[in-house]
Amino acid sequence: MFLKTLFLGYVVIASAWVSSSFAREIALTFDDAPTQNSALMTGNERTEKLIAALKSAKVPDALFFIKADAINTDTRLRLVQYADAGFHLANHSFSHRSAHDISTDDYLADAYRAHLLIEDLPNFLAYHRFPFLHYGKDLKSIQYLRLELRQLGYQDGYTTIDNFDWYLSALITKAAEEKRTIDYDKARDFYVQTLINSIEFYDALAKKTLKRSPRHVLLLHENDAAALFVDDLVMELRKQGWKIISPQRAYQDVIAKQFPKTIFYKQGRVAAIAHSKGIPETQLRHESENIGYLDKLFKDAGVAQ
């Protein structure tokens, strides 16, 4: 009887561990807000569509990383709209310069300049994301910026799933600029499937490296494709067993406190950890993070005629 109880207890604990280790949870984040007008829609329309899509897909929360030099009287209202809809705002620097290309002091001054412009916005959260996921040109710079930003009250707004969503969107927008006919069903499939592939790639990498699936943070951008198809992406994710969680919940994962000793941060936190464990760079990047690959995929899918 005792052994049977012990065994049952083991089974309960083991299954709880397995389910929490492979929970397939993911949060949505959007960089570069507020973005400019495009051939497909104005900035205001983009914000409205994005909010409507996230609401209709019942996304509990999303985090918009702000590029502060784009803030003016009009675009500030768009940021307030996101906040009013229950979403949150964070710091993506002022001028979106790479921390690989400028001094640590210049980068810090740029991030602080953004801070002064956005700290009073409603639903502001003190997360900071480096443009291009460039954390600094060497280990010393990375460590220095990390400490200085922490002293400014910031947590790292890392991502775990890198991708070229910005290029997917650019291809669709460019087709509109060229006045080509866009097949939106095909564009949707192109966007959703490419991103799902990236998500599964980085989740597999996490399972290989961490032996579990962490609470993922998906990198997206406030762009036309997101405004058009993010609700479809969410539906597909749910269909494949993913649960959409808030970025704040995702950032409670233990990997939020893991800063691996590497300069390889540009593919996100999971890839950085994998790199620090000796996995070569060539295995840390999904094939769709390549412009040539996406050009061919876009053409073969017949999205624009």
Binding site: D105, Y112, H115, Q151
Partner: protein, 110 residues
């Protein structure tokens, strides 16, 4: 009796005014080394002054200035090669308040 008290107050008020005018303010300062550049020191100082709700905060090439709890403060970051020296001075009439603000600034700016 009321007239006596009034007369007493009339005599006392100018005296106390003269006293507060003639007493120089407390002036407390301190410095410490920071393991960061002077630019980073300035940024962190500006951030902390905001966090502490320092009023009339102004910044120029000589330092950061402002008022807090009735005291006047100045913060300077001096470059020492790749690192810096933080210097804080606080002036005001209340000795305890001046000392408290000076210590607070030195503690908070890291």
């Amino acid at each position: 009796m009321k007239k006596v008290i009034l007369a007493f107050l009339c005599v006392l008020s100018p005296l106390s005014y003269a006293n507060s005018q003639s007493t120089p303010p407390e002036l407390w300062s301190w410095f410490k080394d920071l393991n960061k550049s002077a630019k980073a020191c300035e940024i962190q100082s500006s951030f902390i002054l905001q966090k502490l709700k320092v009023e009339n905060q102004t910044e120029n090439e000589y330092g950061l200035y402002g008022n807090i709890k009735g005291n006047r403060i100045v913060v300077k970051c001096i470059a020492m090669g790749e690192t810096s020296k933080l210097w804080v001075a606080v002036a005001g009439n209340d000795r305890d308040s001046v000392e408290y603000v000076r210590n607070l600034l030195i503690k908070e700016i890291q």
